[in-house]
């Protein structure tokens, strides 16, 4: 982990229903290069909204996001170029059901990075081998289990050689016995030095892998610290209440 910031979010606000609902209410957070940040909090706390704001899937009502020093909330910024460098993994995988696994992985590198199909396929196969799914390259998403789908979704994002990976509750839709295989892939990714922002309910993963844990509630960051501090000695009552329920 370096001291260089890759993402700096300042004063993020996200209102729905014309201001009736404040999903984000002034969130300021920065992510360092190589850092693994885990965001936890009760449902409705705005943690997913915060994550989705980072690559502008959710456009913040107010506030600023700098990605590699560039203000991506500026209307003149071509967000598509910056999204290429921010991989995202969704709760419901969102693989493309009409394409094979290999096609899922090579579509973006071929169309956006202008890689040759053979080059993209070579990279995809290397990644598939790393997650133990090389033999499923020709399969369609509907032929895979949930855990396999999520591993594919992770390597699909990796095919774009992203600078940061965003995980939006990647294990929440999985059967319990499949959570482990996905967490393993995420752990090995973290060990390789990938910058990661992870929204999850997996406290074990947070404790073991996080460099920093952010606890959110009611659209605000309540507390952030190294995992030992958050889990063993939380300072805020709100954090204590939440952890008492989930641990």
């Amino acid at each position: 982990m370096s001291d260089e910031y890759i993402i700096q979010a300042t004063g993020l606000q996200k209102h729905f229903d014309g201001g009736g609902i404040k999903a984000l209410d002034g969130v300021t957070a920065s992510i360092r290069k190589g850092e693994v940040v885990v965001v936890i909090g009760p449902s409705g706390s705005g943690k997913s909204t915060f994550l989705r704001c980072l690559n502008l899937l959710e456009v913040p009502t107010a506030g600023q996001i700098l990605f590699e020093g560039v203000d991506i909330t500026d209307k003149k910024t071509d967000i598509n170029l910056h999204r290429q460098k921010m991989g995202m993994v969704f709760q419901h995988f969102n693989l493309f059901p009409h394409m094979t696994i290999l096609k899922n992985m090579t579509l973006a590198p071929v169309k956006l990075l202008k890689k040759s199909p053979s080059e993209a396929e070579k990279q995809a196969m290397t990644l598939l081998e790393r997650v133990g799914l090389a033999d499923r390259a020709g399969a369609y998403p509907s032929q895979l289990s949930g855990g396999q789908k999520q591993r594919i979704a992770i390597v699909r994002a990796l095919c774009m050689n992203p600078q940061v990976m965003l995980f939006d509750e990647p294990t929440s839709a999985l059967d319990p016995e499949m959570v482990g295989e996905v967490l393993e892939v995420m752990k090995s990714l973290a060990k390789q030095g990938m910058t990661m922002v992870v929204v999850t309910h997996e406290m074990g993963f947070a404790r073991e892998m996080a460099d920093r844990v952010i606890f959110m509630a009611e659209g605000k960051i309540v507390e952030e610290d190294i995992p030992e501090a958050i889990f063993s000695a939380p300072k805020q009552q709100r954090t204590k209440d939440f952890l008492a329920k989930v641990l």
């Binding site: 598509n80 991989g87 969102n94 059901p97 009409h98 369609y140 994002a157």
Partner: protein, 260 residues
């Protein structure tokens, strides 16, 4: 007072019919004058050719128009709250045009649209096939647009988000990810629309376009007997529809297999 077919009939018919019972004789004569005399079968063939040509051209125009119109409608519905400036105005204008188009085309009878196109808009053109294809295509496009719009809306929002998160723009995501799935989802309905279109071209005779129905009608009039000519027209449509239904069924199965 019989048409001249009656003289040739006795010369051309085989002996076993001529010498057969009266009812066989009558049917033989009816068939003869409906299909053989004066090479009338060629009129059905020509009508078949015209109907097919008209339907395929109209289908082409209809699908192109339908995709464009549905994309305008969907893009506006999903994005206009977050758009600003001239882009919003342009899309809003196109959306308005699309809505007027859908309302007018779906709110007026096909025959009237066809006659307006042929006798008013393209009054100087005698190219019945082109004017017909344009009229039927514009009409079909309105229905295709709503079918495809339904297909696009049925695709999970996560597909768009996945495409965008990889760095694809809105248009590319539509093209590579949403539309292929929407097409697949709506294929049975689109095929049904195609079959409806095929049968709907039967009104082309209103502007003198010699299609299958027109052939049956004219021949029936010429031989003062509509039974066999109209049955033949109906039979041709039926065979066409059954054939295309069969093709679509095969296509559907192949698409389905690709996901298993």
């Amino acid at each position: 007072m019989r048409p001249s077919a009656s003289q040739n009939w006795l010369l051309d018919a085989p002996d076993w019919i001529q010498n057969g019972p009266q009812w066989l004789n009558d049917i033989g004569y009816d068939i003869y004058k409906s299909f053989i005399f004066d090479n009338r079968y060629q009129m059905y063939l020509k009508g078949l050719g015209n109907t097919l040509l008209l339907t395929f051209l109209a289908l082409l125009i209809g699908v192109l128009l339908g995709v464009v119109v549905s994309l305008i409608r969907v893009s506006w519905d999903k994005n206009h709250t977050e758009m600003h400036g001239p882009g919003k105005m342009a899309l809003g204008f196109l959306n308005g045009v699309a809505r007027v188009y859908l309302t007018v085309i779906r709110g007026t009878p096909m025959v009237v649209q066809l006659m307006i196109m042929y006798f008013v808009v393209f009054a100087t053109s005698r190219n019945k096939i082109m004017v017909g294809a344009l009229s039927f295509g514009i009409n079909s496009g309105a229905y295709v647009a709503e079918i495809i719009r339904g297909g696009i809306m049925s695709i999970d929002q996560g597909q768009m988000e996945a495409g965008r998160s990889l760095g694809f723009g809105y248009v590319s995501t539509m093209r590579y990810i949403i539309l292929p799935q929407a097409f697949k989802a709506t294929l049975p309905t689109l095929a049904n629309e195609f079959i409806v279109l095929l049968k709907e071209t039967a009104v082309a005779g209103y502007v003198g376009l010699a299609d299958i129905t027109y052939a049956g009608n004219i021949i029936g009039g010429n031989c003062y007997d509509y039974l066999f000519p109209l049955l033949m027209s109906a039979l041709i449509y039926l065979v066409l529809v059954m054939f295309f239904t069969f093709l679509v069924g095969r296509l559907e199965r192949r698409l389905r297999n690709s996901e298993r």
